[in-house]
Symmetry: C2
Subunit: 388 residues, 2 copies
């Protein structure tokens, strides 16, 4: 195991069981006038979806696993795009021959979410009506919209049933919403480090990030394409995010109060603790790879998600589900989606007599555990998927 | 009890037992060439200290209690400056006739810390060498520097012994440093919601705030006096701070996912949850009252504080202490200075056979508990102070 400890999102690299070289494909739908209907009543189109598939679709088209990504990942969940790539897809450790999502058995599909900037239509895409990037003319998106777009994609692939929809963090919200919006075709869900809502602390933290981006003069009301992006504001937003991905104790373990030059610490404002260098690095590397408007839109989609919306309770909302099974996993040190949020999901599943396997994993890594605790997740998911 | 729930820092208001009308006084020392020696080896002067006193100094000058303020408070700890003031000093609920710090018995002194902007010399003060505000020419300050400045103040007041040095949050760090730097005159310390160091998560959170201020174009490398202050960056820094002052559960209790207009939430980026309005309000009100450079310097002083610095352990460092007693209090829901940080202090006190009363208070309010849980603190402090 080789964890990129100073990288962006943590990607665990293991050599065995790779899906090998893969490529991102594109599907475009909702051409005018048959535009995509969004949850807020607005319309959008055409919409392009970037996606990757691993393994083969069975003849009965029933061996499908949808993998849902979190805030800033992409369709590139496994394998490499070129032999010289240093880092594989973001959940490579879980997807491949013999792995948790075994590509010798399953046809795994991962698509970039609506609103992102990795090939799927989002605020940085060209608005056909103006010939320029949407910017803030892009309509607000919801988790349900992300899922609806994925439904159009899998319809185009001839998929009839989904054995499991799996995701961590916001990916778990999408998986849950899949089972709620399209109950007839989802056999199971795998919800890792997730929640049925965004808690107020998470909304508050997103708020600060959104405000930092919008207050960057380069943001220019979202109309910065072709000019300088709001790099400073976006870096700040990402730095805050990274604090929430790591647990309090893990920060002690990983960085402590280490400082390369304790003397200068009392003399110069720019003399950084290691944790500060880490955050600076995270901020600086993020702005090279992600669009600020996409970040705002996706954070907002997380904020406003509420799986119980329109129902008296989460349990009542879950009455729509037709899953045969669910696997829920949470991590003791996760303070972005604390374990109580998984307990709420488990309780609502139980109230609806949906067979639910729950695993509360004692892990020091905080929210990032969903990317790092791959061995215990592999064990849980393998057993779960082979049980039906 | 009337808590200003939408105010800046929480100030509990009770009518009985007020010290009445008070005024801020000023003491100036360290005139050239006898400048103040800072911990980092640099010098500074002249230094003015804003302070208030409540009660009367006894003839033997031995009934003194020093009250130490936290990040953004002032010397105005109790009473009102004018009858029409809506809000009294920041710890009015604790200081007055019959209160925890009983002004019928004790002579209570509170001074604005070095580096602040409420009358004590700080980055916004005029640098005599240039005739202009110091800005970043102000030397970096430490908790020890703050305490050393206070020592000069109490010397000028004729104080010989201090019955107790008391403070919450960074105020607790100052109280601890008092007992370490001037062991001969400090009889006891009262350390509330504090720590012997700033933990890495706290450093990380400060980092984001500092970065937000410095990235505001109006900051202008700290040279903004006479122009526009970096209001946007400072507001962001304060918003982050407020998230850390409230507990996760208290955010649910106080704001939940309440939103004044759930329909617009899916249509407009500027449609705020209540928690967002709260943070916006906190940010906007803070920039009217506080200097951005002071905020940076004080956050930095907190970051670099380590009561064990230069010693093998906290217990070894505490061997310097000559306190007769200590009272330590922490709050279960405080995640800025979690209770384990108070446990470390208690352990080090015990190892040095200093009589230590520890109270872990079950409170939902997070770090702000040190300002809000006045009844239980009053009970503890009254008993403590009357025991010797």
């Amino acid at each position: 195991m080789n964890q990129r400890s100073f990288g962006e999102s943590p990607v665990v690299i293991i050599e065995e069981g790779s899906v090998g070289l893969v490529e991102t494909k594109y599907f475009t739908f909702a051409y005018p006038p048959d535009l995509f209907q969004m949850e807020n009543g607005l319309t959008l189109g055409p919409i392009t979806v970037a996606y990757e598939t691993y393994g083969r679709l069975s003849e009965s088209a029933d061996n499908v696993i949808l993998v849902e990504h979190a805030l800033t990942a992409s369709a590139h969940a496994a394998g490499k795009h070129a032999p010289e790539d240093k880092v594989p897809g973001w959940w490579d450790v879980m997807i491949g021959p013999g792995k948790a999502f075994d590509t010798e058995k399953y046809f795994v599909v991962c698509s970039n979410i609506l609103g992102s900037c990795y090939g799927t239509t989002g605020p940085s895409s060209i608005n056909l009506a103006t010939g320029r990037p949407y910017g803030l003319d892009f309509p607000l998106i919801t988790i349900r919209d992300m899922v609806s777009v994925q439904k159009a994609l899998i319809d185009s692939l001839g998929v009839k049933r989904i054995k499991a929809v799996a995701g961590g963090s916001m990916g778990g919200m999408q998986a849950m919403e899949w089972a709620l919006s399209y109950p007839g075709i989802v056999d199971s869900v795998v919800l890792v480090a997730s929640g049925a809502v965004s808690n107020p602390q998470s909304i508050a933290i997103h708020k600060v990030g959104i405000r930092a981006i919008m207050d960057d003069p380069d943001w220019n009301s979202g109309d910065y394409y072709g000019g300088n992006p709001p790099a400073k504001g976006l870096a700040i937003a990402r730095m805050i995010g990274h604090i929430t991905y790591l647990s309090h104790n893990w920060l002690w373990e990983k960085f402590g109060r280490n400082h390369p030059d304790p003397v200068s610490m009392k003399l110069r404002l720019d003399s950084n603790f290691d944790i500060e260098d880490y955050l600076e690095y995270q901020g600086a590397s993020f702005v090279k790879r992600f669009d600020a408007n996409s970040y705002i839109y996706i954070m907002r989609a997380i904020d406003i998600y509420d799986a119980a919306e329109g129902y008296g309770s989460l349990a009542e909302s879950f009455m729509r589900m037709r899953c045969r099974k669910a696997l829920v996993a949470s991590f003791t040190s996760d303070w972005l989606f604390p374990t109580y949020q998984s307990h709420e999901i488990v309780d609502a599943l139980h109230e609806n007599n949906i067979e639910c396997h729950y695993r509360e994993i004692d892990s020091p890594y905080g929210h990032d555990s969903f990317l790092l605790e791959y061995m215990i997740l592999t064990e849980s998911i393998k057993g779960f998927l082979s049980s039906f």
